[in-house]
Subunit: 416 residues, 2 copies
């Protein structure tokens, strides 16, 4: 059954979401895009039309919206007959948008954990601070809310669940590795909103180890991974959304997240952090102006969406899952490799936006089909992974498996 | 003859100037300190009184003043009977303060070249852009204006002149070297106003070589100098005020300035510059706030005056002067070594502020005595160097000489 979609946000990820919704508008129906700056929505629509991405004739409209204003979002949802909201705006909006869904009954999908502008690295598990407090209300009202349905969190949660379903019993370790082996040609740039990017790494690095939360500093614990396609890559233990739900839902005593960083990133990050320029707390200039340093850093850095045309190379993101199977130690690496240039050619965005923007569209298609329309709040690992990965196989993010039986595409020919 | 002094500015250098004026108030008379923030002047006065620095009973008063407002400065000069203004406020004030001196007849002394907030690295020679345009008016009105009377520019200009007078004929090379081998114990800090500090290095590095201006980038040309006390030190060719007057006044085909930098400084500077965070041009944040990045960097860095209590180690600043003497190649290094801790113990400031703040007081004493009261505008190398260096020998900045005859104190016992 076709269901109309509202995309909130108009950055690089929203552009991918719009293209993929358009390519699948036989399933998803009308497409609406809303952001604080309508011109950015217009530009996305222009890009969709230019690529002739609409699978069939249909509605594709831009709206100005301050999504912090719940009443405005409610009004837009009602006026346009929206049944699924894909929220890929800033993470500061999440709870406001979810409230609008609770009020209207529209399904809610996001790709990142909620954040409050003035707080960094709250107590784990982070989902318990905002999202899960609203779980009972979602169930009462029968509102589907799929949390963290990007790549990481999102697809990597489905990989963990797939590993548990088919490859490893008694899981002891889930190590999620995110490597961007691409090159944007700039001195320095972040691949998505610098404000959100830096905030991920300025606080304590929480990991779930031996069934408890451990705390480290960023870049304190590094490890070299030998990965398909991108080869040997140095990654660092980082705090990340999915650790917080997987620690609760997977029964694994160890859940860690590893992010790859080049020396340039680490150096720039270290300088900015040590100087206090990544602070979200305002400072006062000699002239008496109150300024949040992080917002100034964001203002001087390249717009992440500007990187796409010259981005080359590949990403590799996946889960190492260890445990026992049939009484023997078992390990599997479930992963995807994406190419920046191919992503740009298809949807006008770089690979990081592509990997983040395709999965919520797959999630929306599953809500539309009913397979994921669970009428409550769920993290991705609580939902059946195979329909999700099956769609992703067909819309640009194929899954591969590497274990003792070799390195191969995930085969859906037998069971989906 | 005693002459009343007005100190403009209330930073680390102003603190040194106030202490040294107080220690010599038998020559200088009343002491007034004025700044935009009167509380900072009050704190300096408190420090002077605490150290019992006043040589004899006398006036020591604080004033609130916006020195960009010429009429206000004129009024303060008239009201307090000021005959000498020592301007150690921000370099943006210089021409406004000089205009107030031209209007009142008070002598003017500064320590740095005038700057306009929105311009960096104007065409050389820099003094011709603002200061020297007012030279004729100084002469007409009989107003003494001593430009650049800190250490560098200032004492190093007197060293160049001393070299020419006594040590080297037919000068071919003047290489000024400024090494701070001190340690403030912070991750990163500038030793004086970060805004002025960074502006020195963000533009083109102008040097005077083979009788013409050459252009390089910062940190492009480095050289290791083997110096007294501080040993081997890496320094980089930098643009600096004194090159601009010495190139005109000394007849040397080569005038270069070399500043010592540690790896940490270079890395932080490089990161900030490449990101655009040292820009004096405003950027607009996503929220629509207009901000000058450099002012935000200044706001997050340690206040230079806060470094003093824990500063250890020494500075070495001097001139390598090469040429011929009596038909043979000759070379001399004229220099001073200062100690951060000793400076702090005496005047409550670190060594960089000390070396910058003591010389303008010596200049003021020479204006008061008449020896430098030249009734026109002059750069330091145009004035007799020996009385200046003689006073400095007695008030904290002794001069030393190193040449083929060894390393020794400058001896004034024969001729001053």
């Amino acid at each position: 059954m076709k269901k109309n979609v509202l995309i909130i946000g108009a950055g690089g990820v929203a552009q991918v979401v719009a293209h993929k919704c358009a390519q699948n508008n036989d399933v998803l129906g009308d497409i609406h895009i809303a952001s604080r700056t309508k011109a950015k929505c217009d530009a996305i629509i222009e890009s969709v039309l230019e690529k002739k991405a609409m699978k069939q004739d249909g509605v594709l409209l831009a709206h100005q919206l301050d999504a912090l204003d719940i009443a405005s979002t409610v009004a837009l949802i009602k006026q346009t007959g929206i049944e699924i909201v894909i929220n890929v705006g800033t993470a500061f909006l999440n709870m406001s948008v979810l409230e609008a869904c609770l009020e209207t009954g529209a399904a809610y999908i996001d790709t990142a954990i909620h954040e409050e502008p003035d707080k960094i690295c709250e107590t784990p598990p982070w989902y318990a601070n905002y999202e899960w407090k609203r779980k009972d209300r979602c169930a009462e009202k029968g509102v589907t809310a799929v949390l963290g349905a990007g790549f990481d969190p999102g697809v990597v949660n489905a990989y963990a669940r797939l590993a548990k379903d088919d490859y490893v019993d008694d899981i002891t370790d889930i190590d999620i590795v995110d490597i961007n082996a691409g090159n944007h040609g700039k001195y320095f740039a972040t691949n998505f909103d610098p404000e959100i990017n830096f905030r991920e790494f300025t606080g304590t690095v929480y990991a779930w180890q031996n069934n408890e939360w451990t705390e480290n500093k960023m870049f304190e614990i590094g490890h070299e991974f030998d990965l398909p396609v991108v080869g040997k890559q140095q990654a660092y233990m980082s705090g990340h959304d999915e650790i917080h739900s997987l620690s609760k839902n997977m029964g694994s005593p160890n859940v860690r997240f590893w992010m790859g960083f080049g020396e340039r990133y680490i150096n720039v990050f270290t300088v900015l952090k040590n100087l206090g320029l990544l602070s979200e707390q305002p400072v006062t200039t000699a002239e008496g102006q109150e300024v949040v340093p992080l917002k100034v850093v964001k203002a001087v850095l390249p717009d992440p969406s500007s990187l796409a045309p010259n981005y080359t190379g590949k990403t590799c993101i996946g889960d190492f899952v260890k445990g026992m199977k049939d009484g023997k130690p078992a390990e599997v690496f479930i992963y995807n490799v994406s190419d920046h240039k191919e992503a740009y050619n298809e949807v006008g965005s770089q690979g990081i936006s592509f990997t983040a923007g395709v999965p919520p569209v797959a999630a929306a298609m599953l809500v539309a089909s009913g397979e994921w329309d669970v009428k409550t709040m769920a993290n991705v690992e609580e939902l059946p992974p195979k329909p999700f990965l099956h769609i992703l196989n067909h819309i640009g993010l194929p899954t591969r498996i590497r274990d003792e039986n070799g390195d191969r595409a995930l085969d859906f020919s037998k069971s989906v």
